[in-house]
Structures are given as structure tokens and as C-alpha cells.
Amino acid sequence: MNMKLLHRKALYFFAMLMSVALVIGCGSGKDKTNDSDDIVTLDSLEIDEQLIQDVKAVKEIFYSLPSPLETAMILKQAGAKYNEELLNPTENSSRYLTNKSMALNLGIYTTDLSYASLFDQTQATINYMNVSKKMAEGLGILNAIDEDIIERLEVNINNRVAIMDIISETIMNSSSFFEENDRQALSSIVLVGGWIEGLYIATNLVGADANFNNNELISRIIDQKLTLGTVLNLLDENSDNEDVKNVMTNVNELKVIFDKIKITTSKIEPVIDEETNVTTLKSETRVSMSPATYNELKEKVKVIRSNYIL
């Protein structure tokens, strides 16, 4: 073979490899230092110029949504009961063929899995782990949920802490896979799917005769107004993706309703328990939401969720 041609081909290969690696490398980072468009705006914040300057100087910015496990724990702590009829049936898993629907339903099924496990629903836990596995495999997430995890789940089925740890590992494997493979857009869709499922379960567990002024579950639903800004910021980071744009439209529809809810909070005072070394952040919050707004929210969540589960 002509050596000159071989050298040229080798050089071409290196140049291509470098270009691809550089493009992916630059995209995967979250360096905000020189990007004038990346001003962080939180829905619940009135941000002054100094604050904007502070944030612009930060190298890495993370927007963290409640994980499916945290969502399930919030529901349980707020007094929710278990109702399997509210979960997305496992039989629906064969309907999800696109990346968007698999990502949304990975979030939805992982939330259902966490919810079932916290209420010691052993068979449902295994079933929802299996459909979560199916969604993860469909998205090409290698080893997020392997056979070993399913076996560990079965062995520890009566040990709730061990099961929660396995679910936590599953969620982490998925989220880190997306991060490592420059698929943050899909990762954000998974998180939104889980968030919507949490809202759907919560709004459907509130009884018709619930007292709006003294109901923990309603309080946690109202609290989602605080998370909404983080959801939008997370999606905005990936808004060049068409699927993310569609999901963002849904979240903005929810924002219109959440904007009708008023939340005011007093100054936060940290108080340390010297014995346990646990700090309590003491503050008082006042909220104002009409039953009509609550019903509007519940209905909108139902419509969005039914579009997601198909």
C-alpha cells in the first residue's frame, strides 16, 4: 500500500477522533463561566444584579429534582396510603417505543417502584423493577438494572432498607449513565416523568373532604411550586432537544396554575440539637390556594400523565 496514503488516512482518523471527542467533551460539561445566556432565574426568587453576577461566576450548576425514592418517602411521610390502582399498569410497558416515552415511563415506573417498596408491596416491587429494567434497556442504559439486582431484590424482599438501597443504586446507575454519555436531555425527561407521577399519586390520594388548611399531603403538593422553578431550569439547559421542548410546554401549563398559589415564608433560623447534632431549620410558611385552583391542578396533572402513559 502507498505509505503516503496510509499516513494521510491515519492523520484523517486522528483528526476525526479529536473533533468528535472535542464536540462531545465540550457539550457534556456544564461550564457556565463564559456563557452570557446562562443566568439562573428561580421562579420563587427575586434576583438582584449582584446575585446574578455571583451565579454567573460559578463553574458548575446543578438543578436537583426529588428522586423517585425521595418522592415516595415524601408521600409516605405526609400520610399517604397505598393504592395500586393509581400506578401505571406494568402491561403498558410494551406501548413505549420512542426514547421520549421510555424516558418518561422510566421515571414513572421508578416512582411506582419506590412507592410500592415503601409500603412493603413485595410482588409489585418486583414487577415494577422488571418494567423499569425494560425501559432502561430500551434506552440503552447498560447494567442499570442487571439480573444481579433482580436477584438481590428477591433475596432481600422483606428487608425494606436493603430494598431502598437497591432502588437508590438503580436510580444512580441510570442518572450517571446519562451524564457520562452526554444524554442529559433524556435524564431530565426521566426526572420530570417521576415528578409528574408523584404529583398524580398525591393529588389522587387527597380525599374529597380534605381540610385544605391542615392536610400534610396538600401541603406537599403546594410545595411543588418551589420545585417547579428547578424543573424549568433543568429543562431549559436541554431546550435544544425537541422532546424536552414538548415536556417543557406541559410544565409551563402547570406553572400557570402554580402561579395562582401564594407562598410566603419567614426568615429561616437554624437550631442545632447538640445531642444528636441534627440542625432544625425553623421557619413559618403561609400558603393560599383556593379549592378551584387545586381542582384545576389535579385535572391538568391527570391530563399530562395520561398523555405520558399513552
Binding site: 499516513h7 491515519a10 492523520l11 486522528f14 479529536m18 471527542a21 472535542l22 467533551g25 457534556s28 460539561g29 456544564k30 439562573v40 428561580l42 446575585l51 455571583d54 461566576a57 460559578v58 463553574k59 458548575e60 450548576i61 446543578f62 438543578y63 436537583s64 426529588p66 428522586s67 423517585p68 425514592l69 425521595e70 418517602m73 415524601i74 409516605k76 411521610q77 438501597d165 437508590s168 443504586e169 438503580t170 436510580i171 444512580m172 442518572s175 450517571s176 451524564e179 457520562e180 400534610e216 401541603s219 406537599r220 410545595d223 418551589l226 420545585t227 428547578t230 431550569n233 415564608t265 429561616i268 437554624p270 441534627v278 440542625t279 432544625t280 431549620l281 421557619s283 413559618e284 410558611t285
Partner: protein, 148 residues
């Protein structure tokens, strides 16, 4: 021509380092950082990045009333101390680990749900050094069921 190959190989290796770093970061967070959350359960979210001394990061998250949380800032051994603060939305400081001998963990709960900001910074190395140190930094959250 040989020299061009050498330069290209060096550049390729340098370009691929961030990918290797990301993969190492996950392994580090999984094997080392998660253990420090015990007896809290890791929430499963992966918030980690390669930071160099002097660099900082911020995380925005809503924390819910009634939950017990542990924040653990996990940095590779090669890095200098990591400063971290917890701020409210008006950037009032609620916790500063510089007052706690650079403790990497903080346990807390809330009377009402709040959006908080976790702000961290890798300190610059002390003394004269020509080597710039960088390593994985993970922000981990642990949850615990309230037994009260």
C-alpha cells in the same frame, strides 16, 4: 511526520481525559461516598463533577418538611479542603463548614419546605506548588424515614 503523530496522540489523550474522569467519578461516588451517608439512604441522584482547586459549584434543590436529610460533600483525597455552605434563596448562610473544621457532612430537617442552595468551593493548595490539582467532587443526599 513522526513528530506530528506524537503531538496528535498527546492531544487525543488530553481530550479523552474528561471522559475517563467522569467514569471514575461515578465509581468513586458509588464506592466511597455512598458509605458515608449511612444510616441515611442515598436518594439516588448523581451530582458530581471534576473540579480543580479554586473552582466552585452550586446546587439548587427543594428540601421538604418532615424529611430527615444528610448532605455529604465527597471529594477525592488528592483535593485540598472543600468549603461548603447552605444558603436560603436570599443567600443568607444557614450552615458554613468552615466553622465546623471543614466537616463534609451536615444532618438537618425542616419545619417547612424550602428551596436551598448548596454552594461549595475547592480551596487552593497551601504552599508553593506548580501542580494544579483536580479531582472528583460529589454532592450526595441521604434520606431517613422519620421514626418520631
Amino acid at each position: 511526520m513522526k513528530r506530528i503523530y506524537q503531538i496528535l496522540i498527546i492531544l487525543t489523550v488530553l481530550t479523552l481525559i474528561p471522559f475517563y474522569g467522569n467514569s471514575q467519578c461515578k465509581s468513586f461516588a458509588k464506592k466511597v461516598c455512598k458509605l458515608e451517608l449511612t444510616p441515611y439512604i442515598h436518594d439516588g441522584n448523581f451530582n458530581a463533577a471534576i473540579l480543580t482547586e479554586g473552582e466552585d459549584a452550586e446546587l439548587y434543590k427543594t428540601f421538604y418538611a418532615g424529611q430527615n436529610y444528610r448532605i455529604y460533600i465527597c471529594g477525592s483525597d488528592a483535593l485540598p479542603e472543600i468549603e461548603f455552605q447552605v444558603l436560603d434563596v436570599n443567600r443568607n448562610v444557614l450552615y458554613d463548614n468552615r466553622k465546623k473544621d471543614y466537616s463534609r457532612l451536615w444532618d438537618f430537617k425542616l419545619e417547612s419546605s424550602q428551596q436551598l442552595i448548596i454552594s461549595l468551593r475547592v480551596k487552593n493548595s497551601e504552599g508553593e506548588s506548580y501542580e494544579i490539582v483536580s479531582g472528583c467532587v460529589a454532592i450526595m443526599f441521604g434520606l431517613k424515614e422519620d421514626m418520631d
